[in-house]
Amino acid sequence: MAGYKPVAIQTYPILGEKITQDTLYWNNYKTPVQIKEFGAVSKVDFSPQPPYNYAVTASSRIHIYGRYSQEPIKTFSRFKDTAYCATFRQDGRLLVAGSEDGGVQLFDISGRAPLRQFEGHTKAVHTVDFTADKYHVVSGADDYTVKLWDIPNSKEILTFKEHSDYVRCGCASKLNPDLFITGSYDHTVKMFDARTNTSVLSVEHGQPVESVLLFPSGGLLVSAGGRYVKVWDMLKGGQLLVSLKNHHKTVTCLCLSSSGQRLLSGSLDRKVKVYSTTSYKVVHSFDYAASILSLALAHEDETIVVGMTNGILSVKHRKSEAKKESIPRRRRPAYRTFIKGKNYMKQRDDILINRPAKKHLELYDRDLKHFRISKALDRVLDPTCTIKTPEITVSIIKELNRRGVLANALAGRDEKEISHVLNFLIRHLSQPRFAPVLINAAEIIIDIYLPVIGQSPVVDKKFLLLQGLVEKEIDYQRELLETLGMMDMLFATMRRKEGTSVLEHTSDGFPENKKIES
């Protein structure tokens, strides 16, 4: 005797936004902590060494925050004017910052007064960075120059006067102590070599460059300016690899995730976009309350810090993984229970009798197996089922219809039960994937309950709602039919062109088109 075959639940593709690994990863942050700074937050930089403190440059101060503290653990406020671009050294001990009055100051993290002051720029210094050997500082200023300074004797080593507008961003190579890159408002990004005292490479970005970034390998360069983020291949001599235009306002900051697999860009349009560095497609996007000026990611992406024009610093911490573990799980039978006796090797005279595996049946399947059709239907019309997995409900209805007992299952219901059914219909009738089954069910219900109609105001109301919905759907489909007509026209013109180009083509257009579509 053949066993009962469980109802095949049709699976449908999930509609709406796809949930990818990336959305899961980037959504896994707590609600942001917001800290009010004195002015627009122009730079956020994480210390590369534990405990991964971060320096926030806003107005004329530099605050250093710890990982969880919401109060600055240290403040450097000895600036006469706006400070810019406070950056940690690789060992996290020193901090360098530029200033509106053209000075570059070097601080010890534990001290208060500057260790070194590099005087030489005549205008605001917007970008500073340490070179890979830790003993030099690169700075770029509004006087169009880029300077290289020596830390031990606080002397200027080299000056590059190749830019023809403000130098607003730059970064030093992590591998080569002599290489560094600057971006300027003259639309160019230049790579300098300290050994040659001229630029070795120059690429044309096309807009005033607001931010540059070198990949850790040094092979790829990312520049942001205007609404574009552009990726350049340095090893091929500055060839444009890809140009991304996903913001509708100026992109102001760039950042790499700790794995190097994702690139983040923040913009004045109040969004942070996350790109995959393999496909260069946007994989996620964050929204913020104000225009974004600065952006930084902590070690292992533990924290996202975003500085905005309104002086608010938004800090998001990653949700801790440990929490999930702590939920007590029900103890399941040990693994060996399941494999018991499985490794028994059959011997010569043994006759192996397989005990039929007990099939696990869902509750509705059990009901169906015993022909309790009404109960099965009740089970799947339960709100927990209809909301979470409407496809199960629809599949059961379909199965009942196949057996020819749908009318029986639907009949004999009281006011409450019938309104459950109608609720489900109202909710899902307009979905094209369920529509054929549900329309059928609706007709059967009407046929059954026609004689007793008008006895319950609740049910009557539901019918009214259903009628309104159907009416709207019909209107909508009528519109769609019209639109289909238009599209047919368009496709028809296409076909004619194809017809002229491809000689052997003779058949009429429609099936042809469909073939192309599919």
Binding site: S42, S60, N246, T252, D269, S285, P432, I446
Partner: protein, 678 residues
Amino acid sequence: MAAGGGGSGDPLAPAGVPCAFSPHSQAYFALASTDGHLRVWETANNRLHQEYVPSAHLSGTCTCLAWAPARLQAKESPQRKKRKSEAVGTSNQTDLLALGTAVGSILLYSTVKGELHSKLVSGGHDNRVNCIQWHQDSGCLYSCSDDKHIVEWNVQACKVKCKWKGDNSSVSSLCISPDGKMLLSAGRTIKLWVLETKEVYRHFTGHATPVSSLMFTTIRPPNESQPFDGITGLYFLSGAVHDRLLNVWQVRSENKEKSAVMSFTVTDEPVYIDLTLSENKEEPVKLAVVCRDGQVHLFEHILNGYCKKPLTSNCTIQIATPGKGKKSTPKPIPILAAGFCSDKMSLLLVYGSWFQPTIERVALNSREPHMCLVRDISNCWAPKVETAITKVRTPVMNSEAKVLVPGIPGHHAAIKPAPPQTEQVESKRKSGGNEVSIEERLGAMEIDARKKGKDDLQTNSFPVLLTQGLESNDFEMLNKVLQTRNVNLIKKTVVRMPLHTVIPLLQELTKRLQGHPNSAVLMVQWLKCVLTVHASYLSTLPDLVPQLGTLYQLMESRVKTFQKLSHLHGKLILLITQVTASEKTKGATSPGQKAKLVYEEESSEEESDDEIADKDSEDNWDEDEEESESEKDEDIDEEEDEDAEGKDEENGEDRDIASEKELNGDSDLDPENESEEE
């Protein structure tokens, strides 16, 4: 990096828009908004008094403004005097308003004339003007600028009297001492100048950022033991950009102590400061500070020497919208400015947007440490039509003047308190007949123009929004655009959108077509528009079929159920008519046999209709009269037979309409139904 294109280029520029109350009576409030308009509001009734747009308002926006002191009005240019003789009753009206611009010029605007009085340019500043101060007595004007100089102007001659370098960096603020012999200037440090010799008398240092406001808080020294030389012993106060402290300084006789004597803390950077001067020793100085976060802090303090701890405010005033219902949370309304009234016991608050500020007088109660006023400003957002945009100055009238109004005589009766009868007669004679008054015509024109402008504006911004939304894939932005119901707007937007966004829009629409018919219907409108408007463009695309294939398939699969659905709809209609019919019969049977009566009324109505029809027909067909009558009888018989049915159908129709209403959101009928049933 900061200057990427954000709002104000200079991060250290003082916050808030330049604004000021007119001196003494505070009858007017001038506000130079960021769109370059100067607006003068009447504080008493919160009406727009005047609006002025400087010709260079886009290149050189207004950075600061100052009212001329009232006494100055007497000695003015001869032209001004002539006008004054004409207009009686404006003697103490403040007139001149000095505006400093970002390009360095200073404009003098006359509120009485409603036009530009003169322009101070030659030999002046060549950079942004930061502050302007009028001298109380001499009629001089002092201004300071980013070009590091302070300039003394002769207003009558519109010439520079003196110009000197005030600081090593930009000079951000000025203040004239109460006796008019000294001048305070603030750049990197605060300096006290002797105006006669233009020499520095004292230095004060202490602020890290540019000083945005300076003000003398006392006019007499606290102890009268020493002879008063006009400056020694006076206190003044200063606020700086990005600084949450207001410092108070004292001018000492010896040049030793340089730091501030005390400070006031506020919650954010001060935007506007007003204070009452104390005349005697016992009376405290009252200080109102408007912060950038929209709060007002009130301080009361007797200034007597050094105080180490920063003082906190006695009272904080905030304004918020009422939170109507559960969903709308109260939102704070920013306060733009606050000024003490002459009685020192109440405060004039200006709040809302700079576009349409609300001015209100609030009595002070010093006992409460925190005041939160709940105001609904949502209804004042739209510009008032009757007061809006009048460059034309309303003529000053005295009581004896005769007013001749063209047009309908009674037209102005509502506005004018009681125009004498003779005037009306005269005006009637003059403007013969029922002409439309000029004002009405102007009004009509103005409204038309505004409507047109608004429409244009919206369709201009919609394509931009749409393109931006598609480029950055901003869900909210797209929602805003795509969920419009206005077909005209959709059409205009589609026409104006750039061509390269057509395919992304179609893809976005594909996503949105799958939803509930309620929202999807709107998307179809967009789709149709795109297809009709850009048909030629689309047909030239070589990869049109793969591009639109999914869309086509999606729509096709959806319309597959059309036939079945229509079938179901028919059934449902029948069902619902029956429901309503049965309801009606129930309702009819319960009061007893009265139903007949109802029917008779209906039939009589029909009869009367028929009669009318008959009358019409009688003219044409006299012979058929009998026949038609007999037919009518038959009709009645038939109707009697189908008593229930006919009525049912009718009621059913009624019910249908009702049901439609219900679906549209009128759920008023439901409880009624239920009660009927029970």
